[in-house]
Point group: C2
Chain length 473, copies 2
């Protein structure tokens, strides 16, 4: 046995540990070379890096269970990881130890096209699941921006969402049951394949969004629906952001029920336009709403689009662009999808995942601009306006590295304080993870935090599972 | 201090206790007379009766907190109660002590018609909430059969549903946040008014459906949507139940997305027809599917109804009855709504709340009939077929009281064993409560039960809150 590291209380990996792990996951399931460790020490969150001591790649739930039971007994910290596309550092091994990657649990176990459900393992890539169920005419709505690379396990850990979750709800709403491994190695089977189920406490919904701190999800039973028969995309340009923000509210009050309702402010549009064709009419507007409608047939959707266009016009909107055919629809959606990359290319940035009640969208943008300006930064706002969820990119611009870090943290804190004062919260879909921990007490009271921490201790009494996340220690 | 009752470990109420309670809730907030206690010792579950020692009627959250803190300190069992319309004995004081009725927390605190949310207290009657938000053109979908008397707190405790939850989901999906009091008196504020929120563990969804065993819900923030612009009701009669069951599956696979999809087998229709006019065409069928469609306009719904009618015909259905106007729609829905009462009037019965994956509906009915016949009972099946959730009424018929009790319990156990073998579960919307405890281990594994029991102990270490429910002690 090795001595625990006095600074963390956790055991330090020894050659004996590594050979025990290799027995469990096989030689090919254990990575210890520096290049591999470096990669598994990063995710999509800023420029953070925490080198793990080893990476394990189990092949099945049984191996996950054995790795966890062993780590729990030996006080080795374990950080579960999907594709590493997270934006709050949730998959980073901040206390070193092991990274437990679920990437090789990548089977779709069954598709039930009679009951419209699928059982898929944690390492299945989200878009791959969508393509596979689409072959059966079925549809899995959650569409995080990273869907071509991110994995279901990560989506479940963070309760990921995306544009279409405006109508369909986030990952949470599609998870009927989970297979998950507790830190002591016990395998939990929560929920069922049933559309209604009140047999005991809802462990499924407790685990969704718990960011891999309570148990490691190895597979999920997901609900599906038939592929929408018709879709229509609309771009609604506005001369003033305030008008666009009010229009978003009116669109929902009016019962137009969009499948997606995204907002891009001019800074976001211009960032995209620097390297991508954007129709002139959209490029010169102050704010753009992108809408997707899903329904029975195009005729129905055209009527709905006309009503929606009237609402937009009443709110001061310019002429609506309508895309009926998939290629035109894709061209409009590309503008939205390219924002993240376009902002990244300009300079270093920090993305804050702010949520407010929908009626406070314009105020959110005002606060974001003010918080940025106060610290000599620029703020670019865009995202899931229909859910009141905007991503605020704080951009480095002309600041040097040291000034940038200080300014970024100060502006972000100002922003989240303002968000909470508007009735909002500090994360809509990116999770708390490592980078947002200090903001959690802004949004969640002491009694609630204490209850959450007690649940964490209940599931993970030795504190080995994804330590350092969600809670400030 | 009084001595604890050795048989339960709980304190027995003394005059000193009662005067302390009267200090907290006022003289008018404390009931101790036999007639009142008798009423609060019953609910809608069969013919059970457990007389409480006293009933407290707090006026606000603060009083609920003080009652609980006091009871927790003094080891007095507390059974929270809404309107007492439950069907699993969840509100019955099986260990005596106090009934804590939320009926006087009956305020709608605010309706936010910009953000489509409402904050309502636990004692608000569900239908009253629906009428109040309807005045703003807004719609709260969950529609339990008891909606004219049941209260939101009870709906949240049991995750109640109803016909329209087929499209809209059960109570759970509409709860954004809760105000709830822990057994130690601490007031929890979970969730928020935000449509997306991943700030910490989802305590809200842990509490919904926990049947008042973890905390007492005092108020909820609920999501609303605009009232549907158009509705249409269809009655689809079938000569054979198997055809109807298959048609239910096809309707969902075909993407017809009904707002409600109910099934009545002939026994249910005939029970209603004994005292209520039922169109001849429906009265002579073996099974009836009732569909409600919600959409943008009647034209759209008529097209959808035509497609749905074709599906039904392909499955062997007879001519479809279509109801466009509210009075005709109500006449069709009355047939469904009268089943419960009609079955009750025939003789004593026990209603099992069975759920299976939708494709197993026909098998569920076959198993129900077989289980009933084996014990000389009759089974009448009806309910939320779209969710795979049928209520199976086991009817006393000619059996004497003693034989009935034995037969009922044996048939119910046979039924639930069959349900679980079909991949189903032992409660869809009535909860586990007191009467279903012994079936929970059929559907939920040991590791999961142990995790649930640990969560119970975490919230309620002294075991005073709704003791005797969900778990077999």
């Amino acid at each position: 046995m090795s001595q625990p590291d006095p600074s963390t209380g956790f055991a330090v990996t020894t050659p004996a540990f590594l050979s025990r792990l290799a027995e469990i996951v096989g030689e090919d399931g254990l990575l210890t070379d520096d290049v591999a460790l470096d990669g598994y020490g990063r995710d999509e969150t800023e420029d953070l890096h925490f080198q793990p001591e080893a990476v394990v790649l189990p092949r099945d739930t049984e191996q996950v269970s054995r790795v966890l039971a062993w780590a729990n007994e030996n006080l080795v910290p374990v950080t579960p990881r999907g594709a590493g596309t997270g934006l709050s550092g949730g998959a980073l091994p901040v206390h070193r130890g092991l990274v437990l990657s679920l990437e090789r649990l990548d089977r779709i176990r069954s598709i039930d096209s009679e009951n419209l459900t699928v059982v898929a393992e944690a390492g299945v890539v989200t878009a791959e699941l969508q393509r596979r169920v689409d072959e059966h005419g079925l549809f899995y709505p959650p569409d995080p921006a990273s869907r071509e690379t991110c994995q279901l396990g990560g989506n479940i850990a963070e309760d990921s969402a995306g544009p279409r979750c405006c109508l369909y709800g986030s990952t949470r709403r599609w998870v009927m049951g989970l297979e998950a491994v507790r830190p002591d190695g016990a395998i939990l089977e929560t929920g069922s394949r049933n559309l209604k189920d009140v047999a005991g406490y809802n462990l499924t919904q407790l685990l969704v969004g718990s960011e891999g701190t309570l148990a490691v999800v190895t597979a999920a039973t997901l609900r599906l629906i038939p592929r929408p028969a018709a879709t229509l995309t609309l771009a609604l340009p506005f001369d003033r952001l305030e008008q666009a923000a009010r229009a978003v509210c009116e669109i929902f009050r009016g019962g137009h029920s969009p499948a997606a309702c995204e907002l891009l402010e001019s800074g976001a549009i211009q960032a995209v336009a620097a390297s991508h064709p954007v129709p002139a009419q959209l490029n010169r507007c102050d704010a753009l709403i992108l809408i997707e409608l899903h329904g029975d047939d195009t005729e129905q959707l055209l009527r709905r689009a006309a009503a929606l266009g009237e609402t937009a016009e009443q709110m001061g909107g310019d002429e609506v662009l309508l895309a009926k055919e998939p290629p035109e629809q894709r061209r409009l959606w590309e503008i939205r999808e390219k924002v993240g990359e376009a902002v990244k290319q300009r300079s270093l940035y920090k993305e804050a995942d702010a949520v407010v009640p929908r009626s406070a969208l314009a105020e959110l943008v005002r606060h974001a601009r003010r918080a940025a300006a106060r610290h000599r930064l620029e703020a670019i706002c865009y995202g899931h306006a229909g859910d009141g969820n905007l991503h605020v990119s704080l951009v480095q611009g002309e600041l040097d590295a040291e000034a940038w870090q200080e300014a970024r943290d100060a502006a972000e804190e100002d922003l989240f304080r303002a968000v909470v004062s508007l009735g909002g919260t500090v994360s809509g879909e990116h999770g708390i993870g490592w980078t947002q921990r200090r903001y959690l007490p802004l949004a969640v009271g002491e009694t609630e935090l204490e209850t959450m921490a007690a649940i964490k201790r209940l599931f993970d009494p030795r504190g080995i599972l994804n330590p350092g996340k969600i809670f400030v220690e």
